[in-house]
Every structure is written in structure tokens, then in C-alpha cells.
């Protein structure tokens, strides 16, 4: 079975006064229908740019984006518009991604109008009412404005809007990061229910490894524009191979007191800028295992066990 969405050697570079910024630097990924790929990394690792480049909200510098077999990176604007209804996006901050001057029902109806999905006024109202019900928004909010609702409900509007055009693929860019924990769980459960019902594929972008575990079948860890490890969700958590993945896992504050006693060493330093990066491992400056082998040559993703890819020359060496 071929993947619903695939990228091959996808690159997005930005020219800056300091040099070329390699935001996304040769990413290969594949997402099957009805599945979720989690994309994890810290600020500045290129995860959001990856999502936006796949949807062609920014133009890729190089590489392919295959949707249902055809390379949409080369589509004309017109052809792209024709398939946009299949590819949607949910944003991190629900308030800044909703038009403050439109009511909840207007916001949800907008994709229906833009893509000319429904004919008459009544049909549209029915559709909007149905979408609101699907995402768990009470009817009484139909004429409210976004600022009148709380964060969780706002995010539900964003989800309803993304669902309006019956998409096959949704990029969820940190959809729960701005929400309280109890509300986070409600939204995550909603997204999982919707996936089961409508067989939507998600690319779930987050900095929070524990969130992505529940929702993804497969997880990809990014560092400075590159994928450094990719594996099934269970495999990645049970057997993280890249030192960066291990550090990310170790850094999550676990809500239990046992974890407090055995504190693992934290990684030093911070993510640098991916401006004109030198060949070699980009994590090496922060890595406790780094040695001369890590510089000089780009480290490629290698298979280590079934379906588990890792880009580390020290692969398998324990820290």
C-alpha cells in the first residue's frame, strides 16, 4: 500500500543576512491513510516549517511532496487550490488563528463557502450545526465571537473549521500546547475519535513527547532541520537510540517522586542556528558521546532493527 502523503528529500532554506538558514534539510517521511505521524523537536528545529512546506504555505526549496502519488510541490497554484480541501491545518494558538470579527458559525462555514461545498443557506447551516456537534460545541455558541469562549472551545472551533472540507490529511501544529492539562486531554481524545470515524491522517507537530505518544503510531524526532530518529511509538519510547531522543525523554518532568531521586544528567547548551551548517552531526556540540567520527561527514539515517531509523554513528553505544 502506498502512503497517502510522502516527502522525499524535502528542503526549505531561508536566505538571511547571516547566511542560508536550513530550516528543513532533507526530510523523508511517509504517512499512511488514517494514521498519525508525530513530529517532535524543540523550538527552531524546523517542525512547523516542515508542516507548512508540506501544505505549500511556504514554497519548498527542493524535494518532493507526494500526495496520493502526485508531486504537489510542482502543482500550479490553480491545481493546488483544487486539492487544498483535502489538506488542512490546525494551529497552536486558537485565538490568533480565528478571525475576531467573525462568529463561530461564520468561521466554520468559511471553508464550505470557499470550496463551494454546500449549495444553499439551509444546507450550509445544517452542515455547520453538524460540525459543531461533531467537535462538541453547544449550539448556543453559534453566534458567539472567539474572544467570548475559553481556550478549549476555541481550539474546537479550529478543529471544526479544519474538518469542514472533509480533509484526508491534517497538519496539527501544537494543537494542545496552549491549553490546560485537563482540556488538553479532552482535545486529544476528540482528535483520536475523529480519526477513527473519518480515517483522517494526521501529522502531529509538538515539542511534548508525552503528548505525541498517545496519538501517534509513528514518531519522528527532528533536530536542526533534520530527522534524527524515526520509529513506531512503542519502539521509540521503549528503545530510544539517538542521544538527543534520550535527552528529550530524560528532560520530561515525571509526576512521581521516584523520578526525583534518580535525576539523570541534563544536556548542556542550547539549540544553535541552522545557518550554513557544517557537514556532520548537528547535535554533536551538545552530545556527551561526541567524538571525531561525528564531524566531517553528514550522518545518514540508518536502519537499526525493524523500521527503527537513527542518524547516529554511535548507534547502539549506551551512554
Amino acid at each position: 500500500m502506498s502512503a497517502l502523503l510522502e516527502t522525499k528529500g524535502l528542503r526549505k532554506y531561508f536566505d538571511t543576512p547571516m547566511g542560508t538558514l536550513h530550516a528543513v534539510d532533507g526530510v523523508d517521511l511517509a504517512i499512511d491513510g488514517g494514521r498519525t505521524l508525530g513530529v517532535v523537536g524543540e523550538s527552531g528545529c524546523g517542525k512547523s516549517t516542515l508542516g507548512r512546506t508540506i501544505l505549500r504555505l511556504t514554497e519548498p526549496t527542493d524535494g518532493q511532496v507526494l500526495y496520493a502519488g502526485s508531486d504537489i510541490a510542482r502543482f500550479s497554484a490553480q491545481r493546488m487550490n483544487a486539492i487544498r480541501r483535502d489538506l488542512q491545518l490546525i494551529f497552536q494558538d486558537p485565538l490568533s488563528s480565528l478571525n475576531p470579527r467573525m462568529t463561530v458559525s461564520e468561521i466554520i462555514a468559511e471553508p464550505l463557502r470557499v470550496f463551494k461545498i454546500t449549495g444553499g443557506r439551509d444546507e450550509m447551516d445544517d452542515r455547520v450545526a453538524h460540525l459543531m456537534k461533531t467537535v462538541g460545541l453547544a449550539d448556543r455558541f453559534a453566534n458567539s465571537y472567539p474572544h467570548e469562549l475559553d481556550g478549549g472551545r476555541r481550539q474546537r472551533i479550529g478543529i471544526a473549521r479544519a474538518l469542514a472540507s472533509s480533509p484526508k490529511f491534517i497538519v496539527c501544529d501544537e494543537p494542545v500546547s496552549a491549553l490546560d492539562v485537563s482540556i488538553q486531554a479532552q482535545i486529544l481524545n476528540l482528535l483520536m475519535d475523529l480519526q477513527e470515524e473519518h480515517a483522517i491522517s494526521y501529522m502531529f507537530i509538538t515539542h511534548n513527547l508525552s503528548v505525541v505518544k498517545h496519538i501517534s503510531q509513528e514518531i519522528m524526532v527532528m533536530y536542526l532541520g533534520q530527522c534524527i530518529e524515526k520509529a513506531s511509538s512503542e519502539e521509540l519510547f521503549a528503545n530510544p537510540l539517538h542521544p538527543y531522543t534520550r535527552a528529550l525523554l530524560a528532560a520530561i518532568p515525571v509526576p512521581s517522586l521516584e523520578a526525583r531521586k534518580k535525576r539523570k544528567g541534563t544536556i548542556k547548551g542550547e539549540v544553535s542556528n541552522p545557518i550554513d551548517p557544517k557537514p556532520g552531526c548537528r547535535f554533536a556540540p551538545r552530545c556527551s558521546l561526541a567524538s571525531s567520527e561525528c564531524a566531517g561527514e553528514d550522518i545518514i539515517l540508518r536502519e537499526s532493527g525493524a523500521g527503527h531509523l537513527v542518524a547516529c554513528v554511535k548507534n547502539g553505544t549506551s551512554s
Partner: protein, 331 residues
């Protein structure tokens, strides 16, 4: 040193707007001992930040009011202190750091001068060379090389900026540091670094701390005691060992633990708490958590549960637990 540095008794804070009165903090009792770190946990709108602002006496003028209650900090009743007195207390006895380091630094002044500013205000007797030495010291203390003191905030990363904010807050060696979500805006690996540094500083300087957070994981790693707030009340408090290593919890606390995606557990679905917090403009008569509680009983909707005002043991504000359950039967 078992003296209470901070004692809050029956604190009530309201915000007055044109249409409504918002009951933000509804009778909070809590205490922080010398050298201790207390985690103040709760969701958006629970009243955590309002409580902190009341301690700092920085509630918005004209809209925010301390309606009743007493806040005793290092022997002084803050609620009666004049603005002039507060100016000496802030920075010296208590300082506060905010969630977003980007907005709490002045973008047009070098970080070194921003640290010096606090010293100039509070330790006027210091000579300029002493002052410069203190600035260097503070920067090294938070792990930033002191030669970067002539740089501006935008030249630092988010984690570094938060370190500078912490340096400013600690410059006058306050007895109490209130940290309002200090690591929420940071990446996990940076959060880890900053928390470790704060733990280390706390031990070296003996500062007491109130750590406001929504992350129970952060509490588990850094705090000695914890207070859980909901709808303007503390609904559970105790030492972290008591609250984390037990199954006897307030239903809301259980809900919070159930909502956290746990990397150790493989459950696919999470168990969120249904519904939302009550509207603070019209607080309910009974228990604030009644509407969302999976274990609610008839009486919960009518009568607010009791809560011990004294002592530091594990206490739960719920009709199902401890003293409350016993006293509830009698009355």
C-alpha cells in the same frame, strides 16, 4: 528554621469590572516556611497568579482589591502596608518572576544594567565598583558568562533570558521568590536546565520559593510542599510525598493526574475531567468542583466542604475525606 516566612489567612481577592464582580480568590489559607519551596498548582483562572499578585501587592489598581484576609510576610502584614513600605519590601524581601521572559525585560537596556538597577534601588550604599562586581556575580550565579553583560535581551535565547530575569529577582537576596510559570515558555531540555539551576540556587541562598505551575511533573521534581487551587480555593495541600504517593486525593487532583499523558503508561485514551471551571463572576454555593466531579453527592452542591485552616498536614477540601467527612456527619 521552622518559622513561617509567609502566612496567608482567609485571603479574598475580587476584581471589579463595569458589569460584574469576579471572585478570583475565595478564602485562601497557606504558609511557606523558611527555605521551603511550595508548588502552587492549578489551571488557568484558578487564582494562582492573583494570589501571587496579592502577596506582591501588585493587583491592578482600581479593579483588583483584597477584600479580606491577612498576608504576613516576614512579620509584616502586607495588606496594611503603604505603597512606600511596599517599595522597600519588593525586591528585598520578596521578588517575583513571570512566565514570559521576553516581556519582563526592557529591550532597550543592556542586561547588566537591568541587574544593576535593582541593586541601585535597594542598596544605595554600594560603590559603583562593588555594584559591578555584584552584577558579575549574579550573572555567573545563573550560569551566564559575565562578559555578556553589555548585550541586549534580544541577543539571548529564551532560556538565557529567563536566567537573567532570575538574576534580577535574586539580586537583593530576597527571602521569598515567587516564580509564576518560570519554565512554561521554555523547551523541555532548557526547562530541565533552568529547574536544576533554581534548585541549586535555592539551596545555596536559602531562599523560600512559591513555584506557580500547571505541571505536576515540575512540582514532583522541585517542591517540598504543594497546594492545589481550583476556582479560587485551595482544595488540597500537603507535603509532596503525601500528595503524590497516595490514592487518597481530592477528585480534582485525581483528575489532574489522570489528564497528564504519562510516558510510562501505554493507555491510548486519556481520562480528562469533563466540563469547565465555574464562572468566577457567580461562584456556586456548594463545592466549586461540584459540576465536574465524578463522585458528587447531594450535599456537595449545597454546602461548601470544610478545610483545616491550620497545620501543614495533608488536607483535602472534600466531603468525602478526613475531617470533612467526619464533621459533615455531625452537622
Amino acid at each position: 528554621m521552622n518559622v513561617n516566612l509567609l502566612e496567608i489567612e482567609d485571603l479574598r481577592v475580587i476584581y471589579k469590572t463595569d458589569e460584574d464582580t469576579i471572585y478570583a480568590v475565595n478564602g485562601v489559607d497557606m504558609s511557606v516556611k523558611n527555605g521551603e519551596t511550595m508548588g502552587l498548582v492549578g489551571e488557568t483562572g484558578a487564582g494562582k497568579t492573583t494570589t501571587a499578585l496579592a502577596i506582591m501587592k501588585l493587583l491592578p489598581e482600581r479593579t483588583g482589591f483584597i477584600k479580606s484576609g491577612r498576608i504576613t510576610l516576614d512579620g509584616i502584614d502586607i495588606t496594611r502596608a503603604t505603597e512606600h513600605e511596599m517599595e522597600a519590601i519588593r525586591g528585598n524581601t520578596v521578588s517575583m518572576i513571570f512566565q514570559d521572559p521576553m516581556t519582563s525585560l526592557n529591550p532597550t537596556i543592556t542586561v547588566g544594567r537591568q541587574i544593576a538597577e535593582v541593586l541601585q534601588l535597594h542598596e544605595k550604599s554600594k560603590s559603583s565598583s562593588e555594584m559591578a562586581r555584584s552584577v558579575d556575580e549574579m550573572m555567573e550565579l545563573v550560569g551566564i558568562p559575565s562578559h555578556r553583560k553589555n548585550e541586549y535581551p534580544h541577543q539571548f535565547s529564551g532560556g538565557m533570558k529567563q536566567r537573567i530575569v532570575i538574576a534580577i529577582a535574586l539580586a537583593c537576596k530576597p527571602k521569598l521568590l515567587i516564580a509564576d510559570e518560570p519554565t512554561t515558555a521554555l523547551d523541555v531540555t532548557i526547562q530541565d536546565q533552568v529547574l536544576e539551576m533554581m534548585n541549586d540556587l535555592k539551596e545555596r541562598l536559602g531562599t523560600s520559593m512559591i513555584l506557580i505551575t500547571h505541571d505536576l511533573g515540575v512540582v514532583a521534581q522541585t517542591c517540598d510542599t504543594v497546594a492545589i487551587m481550583y476556582a479560587g480555593e485551595i482544595i488540597e495541600r500537603g507535603r509532596v510525598e503525601e500528595v503524590f504517593d497516595t490514592q487518597i486525593r481530592h477528585p480534582y487532583t485525581s483528575g489532574l493526574f489522570g489528564s497528564i499523558p504519562n510516558i510510562k503508561v501505554t493507555a491510548r485514551r486519556l481520562n480528562p475531567i469533563d466540563g469547565l471551571m465555574p464562572d468566577p463572576a457567580s461562584p456556586p454555593d456548594g463545592c466549586g468542583f461540584y459540576e465536574r466531579c465524578p463522585k458528587k453527592m447531594e450535599m456537595c452542591g449545597k454546602k461548601p466542604p470544610l478545610f483545616p485552616t491550620e497545620g501543614n498536614g495533608h488536607a483535602i477540601r472534600c466531603w468525602l475525606h478526613g475531617d470533612c467527612a467526619r464533621r459533615g456527619d455531625g452537622s
